[in-house]
Amino acid sequence: MNGTDLWTLAVIVGLALVTVLTRSFFFISSKSWQLPHWAQRGLQYAPIAALSAVVVPEIITVQGVLISTWQDARIFSAVVGAVVYFWRRDVLLTIVAGMAVYLPLHLGLGW
């Protein structure tokens, strides 16, 4: 059983506030106001950058060290997952197809 600590709970409460803040950002105040132009443009690029920054190291590194072998289940799984996404446009299918590649390679071959 994993342990619970106060720091993690505080982070969780903080993340809940982030959800409230971002989902109601432009109607928290009823005064009309506008974001500066550069920030509006930045909104186009920040979400995908944040996801990529989290996802890519989890696929091609082990604790930050680039993997030196192609025998890694994660790479094959991610490639298949991405291809399936662009084929069917469905996140759920991406997960199912990615895991269908990952599990046999990881459990069967130990990659």
């Binding site: 709970l9 989902r23 990529s52 920054a53 989290v54 890519v56 989890e58 662009f86 759920l92 997960i95």
Partner: protein, 243 residues
């Protein structure tokens, strides 16, 4: 907002539920997987339950999990969650004119409960805010019904995932499903060349800067990618300014 009787007694509430119901299995599967991923990554059942009930945002939860497990500082985790959630900031700009007539706490509660699918279904159904009080109530009731079933599917499935997680050995690596889910969302956001550039730069920068302490590589990667894209935009403006 389903506890307000003026909303859940309105016929549009049921309509909102009915129209989100085809999406419900997909939402539930994602919730199930997030529940499993939270526990399999090392969070306690209590932490995972609190996260499900309070945070209610799959992508920021999944992005936060590896950072929490690695002991990244709180501000880095919150900043990452904020960036992953920035799409909701864009949605809120759109929803503003539909909700601004309500008292602030009701607006914010609607905002909190409106995730990706509900937003998409709502703005697809109602292109413009209603002109009359009845029309505004109908729109609000539709949104509330839609949000309610979405919320219920997500929460119930997440708890099932949390309960099942301990039956599955960690060595199976099921936590990787969380990464695949983020990868799928990442692909869904790759709607323009500039966004693909942002994604590629941020991914590479996050690997190159990995040795920075405190998981700062994430923040650095986002900053480098956004600044680079804004610079490229300035040098070579996209036709019509669209991205």
């Amino acid at each position: 907002m389903f506890f307000l009787s003026r909303l859940h007694r309105h016929p549009a509430f049921v309509l909102g539920m009915r129209e989100v119901s085809p999406q419900s299995p997909g939402i539930a599967a994602w919730g199930l997987m997030t529940g499993v991923a939270m526990v399999k990554s090392g969070m306690s059942v209590f932490e995972a339950s609190a996260m499900t009930l309070l945070v209610f945002a799959g992508s920021s939860q999944l992005a936060a999990i590896p950072l929490i497990v690695a002991g990244a500082p709180a501000w880095v985790i919150l900043a990452t969650g904020f960036c992953v959630n920035l799409r909701f900031v864009v949605f809120s700009l759109h929803l503003r004119s539909f909700l601004i007539h309500l008292p602030r706490w009701q607006r914010m509660l609607h905002g909190y409960l409106t995730a990706d699918i509900s937003y998409v279904l709502f703005v697809r159904k109602y292109a413009h805010p209603a002109e009359t009080a009845e029309g505004r109530l109908e729109q609000e009731a539709y949104l509330a019904g839609n949000d309610f079933l979405n919320w219920l599917s997500w929460i119930v499935a997440s708890f099932v995932g949390i309960a099942l997680a301990n039956l599955i050995p960690t060595s199976w690596g099921l936590g990787f499903a969380g990464i695949l889910c983020l990868l799928g969302i990442q692909c869904s956001l790759a709607s323009s060349r500039m966004r693909m550039l942002s994604s590629a730069v941020a991914g590479a920068a996050a690997v190159v800067a990995y040795s920075l302490p405190l998981k700062l590589n994430i923040v650095v990667a986002i900053a480098v990618a956004v600044i680079l894209c804004l610079t490229v935009e300035k040098i070579r403006p996209a036709p019509g300014g669209q991205a």
